[in-house]
Structure formats: C-alpha cells, structure tokens
Amino acid sequence: MGKRGMTTILTESDELTVDAANGLWLTAADAARVTGWTLKPEGMCRDDQCVALPPSVVAAGRVDVEAFWRRLGNPVLCADDRETWVLGAGADDRNAALAGLMAPDFTLPDLSGTPHTLSHLRGKKVLLVTWASW
C-alpha cells in the first residue's frame, strides 16, 4: 500500500510520509512536522503549553507519537498493516476552536487542482456551503 518501509500519517489537514520505527516512534523533527508540537526538555510543547512525557515515550532521539497523541485525549487509529495511521483532532480541541468563533481555516483544490484557502477571503463576507453529488 504505502512505500516500502515508510509510514503514512493522515492528520486533520495533511497526508505525510515518515520513516517510523516500531509503530509511530518518530524523530523529534518528524514528530514536530506531523503533530505541530516540539520536543523540549519539559516535554512536547506548542505555543506556551507543554505536556510532560513519561520516560517510556522518549528514547534514542525518537518520540512515541501514538502514546503522545493518546495522552492529549485525541483519537489514534491504524490500518491492519500498521503502515497507515490517523492522528485525529480531539473533541476538546474542536470545540475550543469553534467556541472562539473564528471560522476554521482550510485549503482545498478546485476542479483544476488549484488550491484555495478560506482565510484568503478576509475582507469579504463568505457563504460557505457544503453539498454532494450523492
């Protein structure tokens, strides 16, 4: 399915390929790229928030991203072959984002494949409508 030896990670806004060991043990650099959190002595940090990690979750320069993501209370899933993973957005994060009333941003392609980003429309009123061919 994926490239041999490489792991596919599906995040809220992306699809990334990483070199993962033994599940989702990623280098600190890949962990930052995938999760948006940076490994520091205090633990995994984002903005002014840090989450301490138990020693079992960090080893030989790698982070157990599966354990970290679960520690945040967020959903983690993997395919049967453990080569494709989903790091899902957690309910608390989703609700907090919506409660701030800033329209969650996204970038999606049009028919010709050109990407469009919602936040680029600041300055105009936007009617966002979802539909489906089914």
Binding site: M1, T8, L10, E12, S13, E15, G73, N74, P75, V76, L77, C78, A79, D80, T84, V86, G88, A89, G90, A91, R94, N95, A97, L98, A99, L101, M102, A103, P104, F106, L108, P109, D110, L111, H116, L118, S119, L121, R122, G123, K124, K125, V126, L127, L128, V129, T130, W131, A132, S133, W134
Partner: protein, 206 residues
C-alpha cells in the same frame, strides 16, 4: 463570496458534471475526506455557514434552505406533489433572500453569545468517527475496500446522526446506494425527527 465545498470522496469525477453545468464564478472546491464537515461539525448536506469580513462565524452550520418535503415523495416515481414542490422552493428562496439581506444590510448575523449557543457540540465519539471515516476513505482509495468499509461502518456506528458518513459510505459501496432503499428506510426510521432541521430564521416557511 460563495465557497461551495463538495463532500465527495470519489473526488472530481462525480462532481465535475455538476460544476461544469453551473459555470460558477465562485469557488467550487472538492473535499474527498470531508474535512470541512469535520471542522465545522456538519452532519448532512446542504449546510451553510456565514462568515463575516473578519473571518468570524456569524451563523453556525444550518440547513441551507432545504426542507423535509422530499420525505413525502412517491417512492416509486420519486415525484413530489405541486404543493410540496412549491413549499420546498419557498424554503430555498427564503434562505437565498436571507443571505442577500445579510450581504446588503448585515441582517440575520448573530452576535457572539447567540452564535456560540448554536454551535454544534463535538463529542469524543464524533471525533473518533471522523478518524475512522478518514481512514476508511483512504483504505478504499488505496485498494483495501473491505478493510476500508469496516472503518466506514464503525464511523457510522459512532456517529449515527451523520448522514454525510452514512450516505458517502453507501455511495462508495455502489453509486446510487446513497439514495436507494436503504436510504429511504433510514429516513423513515427517523419518524417525527427532522432530516433537515429548518434554519432559525424568523418567517422561514414550514
């Protein structure tokens, strides 16, 4: 500015004829993973969100003028009575007019407390359902249909109120399933509960 997002896991193929016929001047985007539905807590289509010039939600997701009159369709011929057709069209026209009023006068925009009150509430089950949906769609797209369907079924089990999940999953099994006998049975099972909850706009025709 209208941003129309197609929640279509089959991608551009099924969406293209609709867009090309409409020849729109607004953005028509393709969202195979249903990211927008997840971000905004939407469970069905069509749903609309009003966003002001500062990027703030002034009307959280609501039914974009559709009504439940379709439930009275003749199941064999899939036709509606003229009275029901008029009522359905009146609902759509009312919503379009409300949007126009907003654009020109700012009317119907909700202040922060009112908007917050109408926001959808994402539960841990819904967040997990979205993760299963994402994986299920990916697996189906990459040749693992059976495994993918297993995750799509779990997504529906975790979030049974999501018509997006159920209907998209059905459509991925076979085009047309989303509007087939299984769909109609599921709609009937709603009983008195609405399929499309009407938008909370004063004067919306019932």
């Amino acid at each position: 500015m209208v941003v129309a997002v197609a929640e279509d896991s089959r991608g551009t193929h099924d969406v293209r004829p609709w867009i090309e016929q409409a020849k729109p001047e607004y953005w028509c985007l393709i969202d195979p993973d249903h990211r927008v539905a997840s971000l905004y807590g939407m469970a069905n289509v069509p749903r609309a969100v009003w966003i002001d010039e500062r990027g703030r939600i002034v009307r959280p997701p609501e039914t974009a003028g559709s009504t439940d009159h379709f439930r009275k369709m003749d199941p064999q011929t899939l036709t509606m009575s003229p009275a029901d057709q008029s009522a359905r069209d009146a609902g759509k026209a009312f919503y379009v007019n409300a949007v126009a009023e907003w654009v020109t006068t700012g009317r119907h925009a909700l202040d922060a407390p009112a908007a917050r009150e109408k926001l959808p509430r994402i539960t841990p089950e819904i967040a997990l359902a979205d993760a299963h949906f994402r994986l299920g769609v990916w697996l189906r797209r990459h040749g693992a249909a059976e495994q993918g369907s297993r995750h799509l079924a779990e997504a529906s089990r975790l979030h049974p109120e999501s018509w997006n999940i159920w209907r998209q999953s059905a459509d991925l099994e076979a085009v047309g399933n989303a509007a087939g006998p299984g769909f109609w049975a599921r709609v009937q099972a709603l009983g008195d509960k609405p399929y499309h909850r009407p938008p909370d706009l004063p004067g919306f025709p019932t």
